[in-house]
């Protein structure tokens, strides 16, 4: 089946009419090119969104507050709802069960000095659990301890940008820096993606409250849902939401005063969206490819018609139906596979060259993975076999003597 004669004959057919072959190949190549590029773009979009999610643990609930927009129980709107220590205590001890929780009290644009260097960075008071909730990858030193919180210790953990800009190449561990005029000791540092991640300076929540806030506000709050499933985390959201609205007299319809966001639910939603997008891409790409395969089938049908006499001669000379069938089918597969492979290479190359110019918060690393490539190749071979089979069956039915009388 795969011997020298077969290849010589395939090479002959393919080169006998180069323009026709090229145009047919183009339709298949373009189909696979579109499929690959669209898959890549789909993955790029997904990567971007997933990276955004990767900044935080997926099984977290984020609680934020704001001013009320609706009057409720005799209270006027425009009242600021502030989360305090008691809210966190009550929510984590009475309302829901959670393996990890932390407040997030931030002060943006805080002046940070180290020797003669200084810069503005966001300062954030957090609790020890925050590292696992916000997935902070520690590069050196240690994270904040419970002990630091209890003693209101003046210690901080800083991001890579702070090191690069203030410490240059020196190790920051054990060094003293001045945060908003107060001296802190650097105990750890980290590298984190995301817009602000690397510029953060984390200190214990209690220290933040005592030195810079003056009360027991905790800013916002983040809780882990543990290993709860989506339904479990949704129950948790409802419980927290209900409790806070009750305690702070917030109207149930007030969208701004209390906002409880479930990462797991958002992730599930994005996941559904991306499944939809991927399916859509496959359908579009598949149909484009189908159009290409039909083109190949069409050309093969013409080839069979052109070669009717030749096929008749071959039969008279002892060719079996199988050998005729495989000749045509292999030819079609070769045509689709070669042009498809070129389309595939072109698609991957385009993505690789275009990727650096197409970075965006919600679009990173447009790539084609091995699975898509292999699937595309399998689809190609099937398309080729499909496009060869119909004309080949027609070739097999050719009656030699009639073929030989066919002028």
């Amino acid at each position: 089946m795969f011997n020298r004669e077969t290849w010589i004959e395939i090479a002959h057919t393919v080169t006998a009419n180069p323009l026709r072959t090229a145009l047919t190949g183009l339709s298949v190549g373009l189909g696979i090119f579109i499929l690959v590029v669209m898959q890549g773009l789909g993955f790029g979009l997904q990567n971007g969104v997933e990276q955004d999610f990767a900044d935080e643990a997926k099984n977290t609930i984020w609680v934020r507050t704001g001013t009320t927009t609706l009057a409720y129980r005799g209270r006027q709107p425009n009242r600021y709802i502030e989360l305090r220590d008691e809210d966190e205590e009550r929510v984590t001890e009475q309302v829901v069960e959670t393996p990890a929780a932390s407040g997030r009290l931030s002060m943006w644009g805080s002046t940070v000095q180290y020797k003669n260097e200084q810069g503005n960075y966001p300062l954030m008071g957090v609790e020890p659990d925050f590292a696992e909730l916000d997935l902070i990858p520690l590069q050196g030193g240690r994270w904040l301890h419970q002990d630091d919180v209890e003693k209101e210790a003046k210690v901080c953990v800083i991001g890579e940008n702070v090191i690069n800009e203030l410490f240059k190449q020196r190790s920051p561990i054990g060094q003293y820096i001045i945060l908003r005029g107060i001296t802190f000791r650097v105990v750890g540092h980290f590298t984190k993606n995301g817009r602000w991640g690397n510029s953060m300076v984390y200190i214990p929540m209690t220290t933040m409250q005592r030195l810079f806030q003056g009360n027991d506000a905790i800013g916002s709050m983040v809780l882990s849902t543990g290993d709860r499933d989506l339904a479990g985390s949704t129950d948790m959201v409802d419980a927290i939401d209900g409790d806070l609205r009750l305690r702070h007299a917030v109207h149930p319809e007030d969208q701004r005063a209390v906002r409880v966001r479930d990462n797991q639910e958002e992730y599930a939603m994005f996941d559904r969206i991306f499944k939809g997008i991927r399916l859509f891409i496959w359908v579009i790409g598949g149909l484009t490819l189908l159009a290409g395969a039909i083109g190949v089938a069409n050309i093969m049908a013409i080839v069979v018609k052109e070669r009717t006499v030749e096929i008749g001669v071959r039969k008279a000379l002892g060719a079996t139906s199988g050998s005729i069938l495989s000749l045509i089918v292999i030819e079609a597969i070769c045509l689709t596979l070669i042009s498809g492979a070129l389309g595939l290479i072109a698609g991957v190359a385009t993505l690789n060259y275009a990727a650096p110019y197409a970075q965006h918060d919600y679009f990173t690393n447009p790539e084609v993975n091995l699975r898509v490539t292999v699937t595309a190749l399998i689809v190609l071979v099937l398309a080729g076999a499909f496009s060869g089979l119909v004309p080949a069956l027609r070739a097999v039915r050719i009656r030699p003597i009639e073929a030989l009388r066919y002028e």
Binding site: R4, A16, E310, K315, A316, L317, S323, I401
Partner: protein
Amino acid sequence: MLALRGIEKSYPLAVGSLPVLKGIDLNITQGEMVAIMGSSGSGKSTLLNVLGLLDGFDSGGYDLDGVDMSGLSEKQAARYRSQFLGFVFQSFNLISFKTALENVALPLFYQKVPRRERQRRALEMLGKMGMDDRADHLPSELSGGQKQRVAIARALITSPRVILADEPTGALDSTTSSEVMSVLREVNASGITVIIVTHEADIAAKCDRTIRLHDGVIIEDGRSGEVVEPTANGAGSSD
């Protein structure tokens, strides 16, 4: 060698069917040189189809070299074809993108003969036809007579027992025609049965035996050039 008994065949039409062979009885012994004559529509090419195992038949019996050929599968037919039969066609039907040598070697390819062996035997056969100096030429570079010699070499390469020639001189001038006929006579002299379908009386005259077909039945069968009695069993329609 070849024995047909009451072969009937009809082609389906949109409505009903068209009977083409209406009961053919024919015996051809090893080493005969036979001409099958008849006007167009007489059924002679259908008969050649059947003899050449290129098409089946509706009823009757066909023994080739003592083996019953009825109800063969496509694959079996292809095997017997390549084992027993060689074909020569009116329009030569050489494959245009293959050289003379490759054309002659093609039947051996279907017999799965190794490449070197194929080429050696093909060159030897071209030599016998006086065509070895044209081995590397494409068909388009050969004259009509040369093409037919290559075609005959191709038919002979598998050492068939029977050569079936469909109007082998139809596309040739009279000088070349007689050249080709003398090649076929030489082939016949080597003991191979030669069956020629023709409508030319002078070609038929160069054969030993002439069978005349009309309207699906044999109306004459006898020594070439002689007037013979029809063996017809009437114009009985099969359908």
